[in-house]
Amino acid sequence: MEKHSVDAISPARKLVMYFAVAEGVMLTGNLAVRICLRRELIPQWCVSSLAIATTVPLIIFAALFFRIVRSQLDEMLQRIVYESLAFAMIVFLPIAGLYVNLRTAGTIQTTLDPPELMLIPSILAVTGILFSWSRLK
């Protein structure tokens, strides 16, 4: 059995912090891209570069995710993380399906912005963590 940190909450906090920073950078980048496009501050290739660059932290987080979860979280915390991701996926799909169909049918006119689309799975994953945590605690 692998040796895990006794204070496994710290790696869990580290994981959440990495994600929050990565998502924050991406959303800030999205805001910057919008401002640049609206005011035509920088050329298109710079805007594209900014869009890609601000997504890099999320790509790095994705690459580090399983390594951190497997090597630094103990088995119960791993279970909480996996259950919360499954919860987020299972709840997100019908919500997204409903939104897409109702939007296509013209029943709802609201358009979700990219930041909102990015935040929904994150909010669902956090909700899943709270559910799992309250059940196992």
């Binding site: 895990h4 940190s5 006794v6 909450i9 103990d74 088995e75 119960m76 605690k137």
Partner: protein, 65 residues
């Protein structure tokens, strides 16, 4: 699942943090194990069994129907 983890730990005068350190898990996991909220994996159950020098079935008992 019921277990004797809290009693065995108390007999030895260990805190949850002490037990967690010896098992290589978090204190929160030890707490959930003792309260019967979380059932350990087989490797962790064997590690607990070895640490306390008791067979697994003596430490963990299934809930009665």
């Amino acid at each position: 699942m019921k277990n004797q983890l809290a009693e065995l730990r108390s007999e030895r005068g260990w805190s949850q943090a002490d037990l967690a350190e010896q098992l290589g898990v978090s204190r929160q996991t030890v707490n959930s194990l003792e309260r019967g909220k979380y059932d350990p994996s087989l490797p962790l159950a064997f590690k607990i069994s070895k640490l306390f020098g008791r067979p697994i079935e003596e430490i963990f008992q299934p809930d009665e129907e």
